[in-house]
Symmetry: none
Subunit: 190 residues, 4 copies
DNA sequence: GATGAATGAGGTTTCATTCAT
DNA sequence: AATGAATGAAACCTCATTCAT
């Protein structure tokens, strides 16, 4: 009931901006410390007081949810796939795609694991985190070179990348994009 | 006449047995409660006193490590693959293999997530958890039917299964083994 | 022409008014939430900002003190006793008096309890909260009917009422004024 | 999840004994600090670790409940009244009784207030905290001296004592037992 | 003067670990 | 060797109070 005085004060920020900064500061902490992450660490990393976290979020759990929510947004990932130079040879394009996919798999895989979640926040109308559409669009221009259709090819490529990248299974670290693409094209090129 | 070796073994066994029981009791708790798992729960499930845990393991962390260690043992998984009826048609054999693989991916994926670990305990000379060897052996008898060699085929199959099963990415639940095998064989069968 | 005194009063009034509103808004909150009362609740109930409380009062403690201070003011209670119709029979007059007293005992009892205070704010020259004077004046006109003098009678009546009303002791709820008056008059009427 | 070592240990005590000691240690703290009482203070006063409180009680609230529960036990109070020397003159006996009553009123009144409770723990078949029976038994031997029956006399005495003792109303401190008894006997003695 | 976001001290409670029995 | 009560560090969260706007 009896409290004491305090010292400084940071400038008041719009709520959305506060939230964004907390999320940004929490992501690496979550990856490094998993659930052991403390509110003290979040506050320090975000450069705010511990109590301020609870103005922007109802509790620690919500902060973690928001971090995952943000990480699962597929927009930047798909945009990156779509911006691959279509004039490059298929092999090159696929290697770039695999590298992007690997980064996403690693990041999300580690994040979910660290957060102790088994999947993304349940939101029925959310697109899957590694939707195949953008990957198909990378393949499509060279469909004639392949013995299988682009959707199947996209699935195979995603599967190969996934299995040889996910930290729980690729125990010696991920394979190189070139190696993964080689395995695929050896199998399916005409 | 009781040999020293015998006595030593007799004395040693209970310790190993104790560890085994603790590990066995902890696995389902870890899957259910994740990091929130308490030593009290372990003790209750194992039917021992809380303090006794610390005679078998230096700390709680080590118990969890041991649980994961045990779960990652590929022996029973590979044995199951090797015992698939070689006289069945390729398609059937692969479906069984995919189902076994799915179970392993799910189980280990959930376990790692629950434990907040990003990979198996780091042990350099450990075989990878889903070594492709046994899978290749399932494929090998029908190599002639395929346009690609068994190792590559095994990798593709593992990749497909993995990506369409792991909970973080197969957001609508795993696909059926038949569907996965169909995708593969459509692509690579002569 | 505006005098300094006038200006001073004009400036001063809002402060007193602000205090009054805060006190008014806090009373029911204090009764309902006791010590758990927060400055946030006070601010909301008073329709002001949290910080504004601290312009009118040095700290939360002082707000509560002021609420109790105000509640202990015996003026309205004594005025009510004095306005009892003197032409009614003694019995009736006493019943009304007991009812007023019960309300005061209940209200102040609850308030002190809620506030976690064991008595009114210590102010040496404060009149006691249930001064007997007004109660004596209710009795006095019929002194001849009684075997004991009005001051003693007033004390007995106050005591009876108090003990059969205070929530910590009247565990089955307060007795009716009629019952209390009957006990007294049975004992002391000629 | 990661914890450190600790130092000493007090001997394990029967649960009931632990509870008793905590209650005993908490009573004066509750009277002095009211609800602001901290678990740290309780632990220090009881000479145990903070965590040990929570082996004996589910939470802080329960400790306070238990303290009040214990204080409301009327047995020792009634036993004290019953052990008053029946051969002493009525006046003397009553003064002793009033003093016992005052102590009880003060103690329970302050306790309830400090605890922020408006009454004793709700237990339907609990005897009232100041049951009049024992007080009547003090009066009964001299019933012939009085113009009113012992039950009424007991009620008047309890009321007088109560109103002139309870801290919220007897603002100048309690009156002496002699004065209270005098007021009563002046009114009701033959 | 009023506002309300920011602050951070401090409260309650949990639980891994120790060690007397 | 096993037990489980005791321990106390540390976590999350609340909220009185401050002060930039």
């Amino acid at each position: 009931m009896i409290s004491t005085a305090h010292r400084r004060r940071a400038a008041a920020l719009p709520v959305a901006e506060r939230r964004r900064r907390i999320i940004e500061a929490t992501l690496p902490l979550l990856l490094e410390h998993g659930t052991d992450l403390t509110t003290r660490q979040i506050a320090d990393a975000a450069g705010i007081a511990e109590g301020t976290i609870f103005r922007a979020f109802p509790d620690k759990e919500s902060v973690i949810d928001a971090v995952i929510e943000a990480a699962f947004d597929p927009t930047p990932f798909e945009a990156a796939l779509d911006s691959i130079d279509a004039s490059a040879p298929l092999e090159t394009r696929l290697e770039v795609a695999v590298e992007l996919l690997q980064r996403r798999v690693e990041r999300l895989g580690e994040l979910m694991t660290a957060a102790g979640r088994v999947g993304p926040p349940t939101d029925p109308d959310r697109r899957p985190p590694t939707s195949l559409g953008a990957l198909e669009r990378v393949i499509a221009p060279d469909a004639a070179q392949l013995r299988i259709d682009p959707p199947t090819c996209a699935r195979l490529l995603r599967g190969l990348t996934f299995a040889s990248t996910h930290p729980a299974f690729a125990t010696d670290g991920p394979e190189t994009p070139a190696a993964i693409v080689a395995v695929l094209l050896d199998g399916v090129r005409c």
